[in-house]
Symmetry: C2
């Protein structure tokens, strides 16, 4: 059997991280990479990744996707370029129309039914017309604050209230994330950034809440979210960020899913640099009230970058095996690490 | 759309518990119950359960399955009668040949490929011939020490070693469980019971280990398990069991899955009455070494009885929706509580 053939669209931290993992796996190969960034376009991926090419074919990063994706030229394309469905849509459509399965890292694509009903129907239609499937996934949304919650309700006969809490450190992230999350800003500048929409905070609550609701049969009729600065009392310093005492060390995002006028799903997601300096310990926590009650914790939290890379490369077989159409994490079998030969996981 | 129609084969603690949950749900009805126990056969389930019949049709417990299962007479039969595939097999075959989907609570049926290769092929063949599907599930095996492990590996790019540990209390269980697990025996009698095979301990390690291995691509070439008494230093008293100091308060089961001569999967499952009396606190723990490491805990442990009841009633739609054949938890979408109308979860 031939190797599973993967194209990567976007070769930033996520795309290049996936490439590194895939190069270490059996029965799978990278057949092309597209990235327009001048530091990457035109270079060999082995050079960029600092990985021995060995007897593999070389792969040169292309700036034009037409040079990477041809009709049925690969089994799947992982599109790691956007956070929002609207921005990702033209790329996803292009790949699907090449009759190639697609995985998107766009947070909103984890459950595009939530905020992009029309585009999600359109993607489902295009995928079906071309006999392929498309999935949005990542660590969160994609697993920690949604699929894992759903999975844990499986051992319950009654669910009254769900709280999903992810407390993570921003310290390992680079300057882009520091800026996006407002690390180091004064409280005044942070609030201005929120008002102007410049500071987006975490993207995905609306999708996670709707995914949980649809999965278990909670009719979520209202969703709200709030964003506030985490103000530090001490100077905090991370490799790429600094927050002076009195300034912003990160963002606290909270969200609520209402069922029949009552909050049944609470999302809590504070992200900051050096949380331990003020006694905050990172972790993922799911508390579900009902019968029986389930109180889960993962300490420390699952690493966001590695987790997203893993979810994408691990879902490849499930997406290839799926019936045509738009899929979400609640439609497919549970995610799993693919430690064996990728070809063994493909149903032909 | 008509209600989802369920038959229950076995109306002990599990079967009657499922009935109680189903009677509280929408879009689903119990069309028949089979149980030969003289205290139950011939009686109304509403009488046995002490639940108001309201305007529902009465359901009388039948001692003969022929009076319950007719060809396509219901959508699914939950068979809660056995622990071992060999013993359950004739019943499962009977139900499948009535063109009825099946859920089995038999621990070995959670992954019959592990120890009953021929019977599992036979069940797959019979199910396919009759256009229905069959699944074995429960809290453990079924979720805690296998499917949940698999799900958590989904966020990992590399898995080096898995430890699944379930520390639970036997105190809520009745006299049958006390006897099965050897509670109150002297160490000598316990060891005799193990030698003679009278004390089985936990059933399901072989299935859980093989399920994990197959899911992630670990070729488990050897499996071993050991069983030892948990000897108490103090008198311990539970509603249905008593262990004097120096005697047996429960069973510690451990198991190992080998990959290429190395233990890659460790299963640890001590079960005892009143564990807190000697400082043991119950919980479910999954520790996966690799990239990134994942350390999960659920404290206290998920209640075994309620958990098994929930897993069975919650998997009903997935089993009805599945392609024909023998299915396992790693083939189907993630379990989830069914809080809405059952009919909304069925793909027709």
């Amino acid at each position: 059997m031939e190797n599973v053939k993967v194209a990567l669209w976007g070769f930033g931290a996520m795309g290049s991280g996936m490439a590194k993992v895939l190069l270490g796996r059996k029965g799978v190969e990278i057949i092309g990479v597209c990235d327009m960034h001048p530091e990457r376009a035109g270079r060999s991926i082995f050079d960029i990744l600092n990985v021995e090419k060995g007897n593999r074919m070389d792969v040169i990063v292309q700036s034009n996707i037409e040079d990477v994706l041809t009709e049925k030229g690969c089994d799947i394309c992982i599109c790691a370029t956007d956070s929002f469905t609207k921005n990702a849509f033209p790329k996803l459509k292009f790949a699907l129309e090449k009759k190639v399965n697609v995985i998107s890292t766009a947070e909103e694509m984890s459950y595009p039914q939530a905020q992009n009903t029309e585009l999600s129907k359109e993607l489902d239609r295009i995928a079906k017309e071309n006999g392929v499937s498309i999935l949005g996934t990542g660590i969160n949304p994609g697993l920690i604050m949604d699929l894992l919650v759903v999975c844990l309700t499986g051992c319950m006969t009654d669910v009254k209230h769900i709280e999903a809490k992810r407390v993570n450190s921003l310290s390992p992230f680079g300057p882009a994330v520091m800026e996006e999350q407002g690390v180091g800003l004064t409280v005044e500048d942070f609030n201005k950034g929120v008002e102007s929409g410049k500071l987006a905070g975490h993207v995905g609550f609306a999708e996670s809440v709707r995914m949980i609701g649809d999965a278990i049969g909670f009719n979520v009729d209202k969703f709200e979210q709030q964003m506030s600065p985490i103000v530090t009392k001490v100077d905090r310093k991370a490799p790429y960020g600094f927050a002076a005492a009195g300034d912003v060390a990160g963002v606290n995002m909270i969200g609520q899913g209402y069922v029949d006028g009552e909050v049944k799903i609470d999302m809590i997601h504070p992200q900051q640099i050096e949380p331990e300096m003020e006694g905050t310990y990172t972790g993922d926590y799911i508390t579900i009230k009902g019968t029986p009650e389930v109180s889960m914790s993962i300490k420390p939290e699952v690493d966001g970058g590695l987790g997203t890379i893993a979810m994408c490369v691990n879902m490849i077989p499930h997406v290839i095996n799926a019936d045509p159409g738009l899929k979400t994490m609640i439609d497919l079998p549970v995610p799993r690490a693919i430690m064996g030969d990728y070809r063994d996981f493909i149903k032909r």
